[in-house]
């Protein structure tokens, strides 16, 4: 049973929650760019060699299975050093950073992420020679993560 006071408070909180800044898209885009810059520095990021696999239509953003596979021989001389995953629309762009080496044998990781809204998910691989490769996938999210409280 919800008290009258709690109900009114809920209304206040709900409104505050819904009032995100109007340029939220730009802010999130900037945060994503900054996060990627932090990882790659001033190096160019090229498309290819990385395969990011996740469902294009997501029913529930709270658990989104995803996998990243990078084409690499995984030898001591030529291997994948790190795989980073970012999302565009989450309050924070980072999802996961995985650090591998030649002992991984194969550059493939799989996990489950939370994705807040329809947007782009990006995977970036750092190679042992210092180059960066990426793959981006556009996903549609019907039920967002993070919003199950407060707005319903």
């Amino acid at each position: 049973m919800i008290t009258r006071r709690a109900f009114l408070l809920l209304g206040v909180v709900g409104t505050a929650h819904a009032q995100l800044p109007p340029n939220i898209g730009e802010i999130r885009k900037k945060a994503l760019d900054e996060a990627i810059r932090k990882v790659v520095g001033s190096n160019p990021v090229r498309q290819g060699r990385v395969k990011l696999d996740l469902p294009p239509l997501i029913d529930n953003g709270n658990t989104v299975p995803l996998s990243v596979e990078v084409q690499s021989p995984m030898t001591a001389a030529d291997h994948v050093k790190a795989i980073h995953v970012f999302t565009e629309k989450n309050p924070q762009p980072y999802v996961l950073s995985a650090y591998l080496g030649p002992r991984a044998g194969r550059a493939r990781i799989a996990t489950r992420a939370r994705i807040a809204d329809t947007g782009i998910v990006t995977a970036i691989a750092q190679m042992s020679d210092g180059s960066f490769w990426s793959d981006s996938v556009k996903v549609i999210v019907t039920l967002s993560a993070c919003l199950e409280e407060g707005l319903i």
């Binding site: 996961l96 995985a98 996990t111 992420a113 939370r114 199950e148």
Partner: protein, 106 residues
């Protein structure tokens, strides 16, 4: 003690690439959710997972709030020699969990 599960093949051929699956029971509270009364629920997540193979680090991952609850992670390693794989999760509020798995390399 937190419940963690790892899946490592019991036996492998030398040089074979083996798949390792790990799962840790944890709510991964993001720090962005609110209670019914509007108070922010503080962040409580697992920050990292480190996998060592006979004492040598072979894999490491940093987790962020955008990882789903009960973080699952699959990765691979080369079966080099018989021994143990040790997995250590660490996180906010002093969270720590360790699990080991034995592997026999033929």
């Amino acid at each position: 003690m937190a419940r963690v599960v790892v899946n490592v093949p019991a036996e492998a051929k030398r040089g074979e690439v083996i798949e390792i699956r790990t799962l840790a029971g944890h709510p991964m509270e993001t720090g962005f959710r609110r209670t019914q009364l509007g108070e922010l629920i503080p962040r409580d997540i697992i920050r990292s997972l480190v996998c060592t193979y006979n004492g040598v680090e072979v894999f490491r991952a940093d987790f962020h709030p955008a990882m789903a609850a009960n973080p699952l992670l699959t990765f691979t390693t080369v079966a080099a020699e018989s021994g143990t794989l040790e997995f250590r999760w660490t996180g906010d509020n002093g969270f720590s969990a360790t699990q080991t798995a034995a592997i026999k390399v033929l």
